[in-house]
Each structure stands twice: as structure tokens, then as C-alpha cells.
Amino acid sequence: MSEFLRQYLTVAIFGGAAILMVALMLGVGRLVRPTRPQGQKYLNYECGVDPVGSGWSQSHVRYYIFALLFVMFDVEAVFIFPWAVRLDAMAVFGLVEMTIFIVVLALGLLYAWRKGVLRWI
């Protein structure tokens, strides 16, 4: 195993330990807690009143639009981080390049803004 990979070893061990930890807590809970089944206990709580209709309601499409916008900015972050690490090597070229990229992106955001996508009613 190379030194590069060994740095991740601890992260992997820690992640595994975290999963074990959660499983352990749930396991201990299972051992010590009481179980006294009763029909009404397994109804949805919701707001304390007996639920009416199905819980699988539709939600506003606006949430979905924001998720799409987020994808745009997350992909942008994919480009920005390597650029930020190597900026001193690319100097002026890198700066101009990223400025153009961000301006194009900002135009996209501006367009969405003008179209009223960002307005939450």
C-alpha cells in the first residue's frame, strides 16, 4: 500500500467505526427497551390527530427547480477547487479563464433571477 493510500486508511477505519458505533447503539437499544405492541401506536403521529388520507403528498415543484440550480453550482465547484489549488501555476491565464467561466455562470443565474425562478411565493 503506498503512502498516499495509507493516509486514507484512517478515514476508512474511522468511517467503519462510526457505522459500528451507530449499529451498537441501536443494538443496545434493542436489548434493553420494552416492546408492547398495540395497534394505535403504529399510526402516523403527524401532528397528534389521527392522520387523514395518505402521507405521500405532492410537494411544490419549486423545490425541484432549486435542486437543478444547485447542480449547476455544484458542477462549478468541481472546476473551482482544482483551479484554486493550482492558481499560482496558471497565473494570469488562469485568472482570465476563471473570470470568463464565472461571468457565464453569473449570466445564467441572472437569467434565472429575471425569469422569476428565484422568487419564492
Binding site: 453550482f73 485568472l95 476563471m98 411565493i121
Partner: protein
């Protein structure tokens, strides 16, 4: 580069030290959460002129331990409407990333145990800060799937709200983090902390604004007040975890507090110089840890203060703040710092001290360029709005 512990292969001692570090980190996180919950309740009681928990242990310090034990003895109720597999998976997806994210935080300097040198930091992978962003993205699944799998109305509403809020502010947060990366030229959290010296923090060097953006975005990211719309009791009962009971409910609570501690620790690392502080000759390995915890404590207390002071935002205000203020500002500041850095290296004649981005230059450059940038943005929006009005008038008052 990287933890010197792994530089010369792996033997038994290395494995034991790794296990010791893992156990210590777990202990720290769990104890930290217990004490933080107590401190939050006690501090907010003081701010609201009441006493708070005072029964379990001196000053009620064992209160959260007592609550934690109680929760293990509660019956586990899963509603029959729930999608059982996802319902059981979701707490893992919330708690495991919350634990893991802390792995990359540097707590202190190099120490040596049994002839091996190691950092007081669980792991220092080259991707460092990206790991944190990845973990906070996975945490969104924990929240979303919890609400979705409950098969109940309010949890579902709470979870779509939560995920829209978390991803919106994640965009702004990663841009603020990128600004700090830009100053260092490395993603490793240790390199970022070493780059800052005793008082010469990124906070000043980057001109305070990225720090502000990070703080606002991180508060929203972990659903702390004033951004706790996710669990607005008056509207959504308990939010995405309404249908959870017993240990599973406690896991969400645990994850939330661990996330608060982690984002505070990241703020300390990125902007406040991490464990760096005045050098003291007496026990030199101890003091960085002390500085780190003092800074961390200031941050977690700040969150309690925010909770006691600010009313909750409305959802449209929240979205406006994220998309219309923070993201444009973060993009703009990123380019500004990049320009200052490139100009610094190329000796452009605007009088930046070589090798340092100092606050005065940053603020001066920002004021000038900001007026142009936001003025242009505002003008564009006004022109656009006017045109829409004209078109509406032409169409006989009917808006397209």
C-alpha cells in the same frame, strides 16, 4: 505531506496508535455533544433569565447523559405507513457522515508516541476539505430519506424544505471554502492551518467577507437557528424526524450537534488559524490543543447566542439570502482574491505587500470593484423589471 505516522510502512505500533486516535476522537465527539447540549441549555437559560437544568449532577451537568440513557429504554415505534428499509437506513446516513467529517480537523501539533511521530489529527488526506463537503452532502440524504420514508405529511414537508435549504447554502459554503483554499493553494486542512500564523489568520487576509459567508451558510447547513425552518414547531411539528422514536430519534439529535461542532471546528481551521496561538515554553505540545478548544468553544457558544437572539427567517427570505446575496457575493469575492493573489505574484503595481494579502488592500479593492459589480447587477435587474412592466402594460395588464 500527510501524517508522518504512515511514512515508513505499517507495523503493530502504527496500527495501535491509529486505533488509539480513533477511540480518542470518538470519545471527544460523544463527550463534546453531551457537554455541548448541557452548555446550550444552561447558557440559553442564563440569556433568558431562568435557571435551566440543575438536578442531575452539579449545575445539572449530567442532564444530557440522563436524557441519553433514558432514550435507550424507550420503545422503538415505526409507523406502518413507513417504508421500513429506508426508514432504518436513514439514521445511519445522518449519523455516520456527522462522525466522519470530524476526521480531518487538526486539533494540535506533531507529537511522538513510542518512537512514532504523528499529528494530533485523525487523518490528513490530500483532499482534506473536499472530504468535509462530501460528508455534508451525504448528510442531506439522511435528512431527506428520513422524511420521505416516514410516509407522513409533515416529515415529508420538513425534509423537502431541509434538502432545498441545505443544498442552496452548500453552494455558497463551498465557494467560501474555495476562497480559503485559494489563499493556501492546498486542500489539506493541515496545510491551510500551517499557512496561517499566530495572529495572521485567513479571517483578516481574505477580508472577513468569506468568513461571514461561511458562517451564515454553515448555520443554515446544520439547521441551527435562525435557519431552523426544517423543524419549525409551529408549522411542521418536529420536521423530518417527527415519526422517529427512541434511539433512532436520538441519533438525529446527536448528528445535529456533532455537525454544529464540526462546522465550528472547520471555521476555526479555515479562518481562525486552527490550533495556532502564542508559543509557550511550558508543555509546548499542550497549548495548541488549548487554543483550538478555546476557539471552538467561542464558536459553539456563538451558535447558542444566535439561537437566543434571532427570530426564525421566513422561507422566501431564506432562499433570497442564499441565492441572491450570498452566492453572487461569494463568486465575486473569489475572483477578487484570485486577482489579488495573481497580481501579488506578478508584482502588478497596485502596492500589495509581497507575499501577504492584507486586509486594507482587500477592503479597498473590494469597495471599488463591488460598486461596479453590484451596481451593474442592480441596473440590469431594474432594466429587466422595467421591460417586464412595459410588456405587461402592452398586453393589457395580463402578466405572462
Amino acid at each position: 505531506m500527510g501524517d508522518p505516522l504512515y511514512a515508513h510502512g505499517i507495523d503493530l505500533a502504527v496500527v495501535l496508535i491509529t486505533i488509539l486516535k480513533v477511540i480518542l476522537t470518538f470519545l471527544f465527539l460523544l463527550l463534546g455533544v453531551l457537554l455541548y447540549i448541557w452548555w446550550e441549555r444552561k447558557f440559553i437559560s442564563d440569556l433568558q433569565n431562568r435557571i435551566g437544568p440543575d438536578r442531575a449532577g452539579p449545575h445539572g451537568i449530567l442532564q444530557s447523559l440522563a436524557d441519553g440513557i433514558k432514550v435507550f429504554f424507550k420503545e422503538d415505534l415505526a409507523p406502518t405507513e413507513a417504508d421500513r428499509r429506508v426508514y432504518r437506513l436513514a439514521p445511519y446516513l445522518a449519523a455516520v457522515p456527522a462522525f466522519s467529517a470530524f476526521a480531518i480537523i487538526p486539533i494540535g501539533d506533531k507529537i511522538s508516541i513510542a518512537g512514532h511521530q504523528t499529528y494530533l489529527q485523525l487523518a490528513d488526506p490530500p483532499i482534506g476539505i473536499l472530504f468535509l463537503l462530501a460528508m455534508s452532502s451525504i448528510a442531506v440524504y439522511g435528512v431527506f430519506l428520513a422524511g420521505w420514508s416516514s410516509g407522513s405529511k409533515y416529515p415529508l414537508l420538513g425534509s423537502v424544505r431541509a434538502s432545498a435549504q441545505m443544498i442552496s447554502y452548500e453552494a455558497a459554503m463551498s465557494l467560501a471554502v474555495a476562497t480559503a483554499v485559494l489563499a493556501t493553494g492546498s486542500l489539506s486542512t493541515r496545510a491551510i492551518f500551517v499557512h496561517q500564523s499566530v495572529w495572521n489568520w485567513n479571517l483578516w487576509q481574505l477580508g472577513v467577507v468569506p468568513f461571514g459567508i461561511y458562517m451564515v451558510a454553515a448555520t443554515a447547513e446544520v439547521n441551527r437557528p435562525p435557519f431552523d425552518l426544517v423543524e419549525a414547531e409551529q408549522e411542521l411539528v418536529g420536521g423530518y424526524m417527527t415519526e422517529y422514536a427512541g434511539v433512532r430519534f436520538a441519533l438525529y439529535y446527536l448528528a445535529e450537534f456533532m455537525n454544529t461542532i464540526t462546522v465550528s471546528a472547520v471555521a476555526v481551521t479555515l479562518f481562525l488559524g486552527g490550533p495556532s496561538g502564542p508559543h509557550i515554553n511550558f508543555l509546548p505540545a499542550l497549548w495548541p490543543v488549548v487554543w483550538f478548544f478555546l476557539k471552538l468553544f467561542a464558536f459553539v457558544s456563538f451558535y447558542v447566542w444566535l439561537r437566543a437572539t434571532l427570530p426564525r427567517l421566513r422561507y422566501d427570505q431564506l432562499m433570497d439570502l442564499g441565492w441572491k446575496r450570498l452566492i453572487p457575493l461569494a463568486l465575486y469575492w473569489l475572483l477578487l482574491i484570485a486577482a489579488l493573489r495573481v497580481g501579488d505574484d506578478a508584482h502588478w503595481p497596485w502596492g500589495v505587500n509581497h507575499g501577504a494579502l492584507n486586509a486594507i488592500t482587500v477592503v479597498a479593492a473590494a469597495a471599488g470593484a463591488g460598486v461596479v459589480f453590484f451596481g451593474g447587477l442592480g441596473a440590469a435587474i431594474r432594466v429587466g423589471a422595467k421591460r417586464v412592466e412595459e410588456e405587461t402594460a402592452r398586453a393589457g395588464g395580463v402578466r405572462a
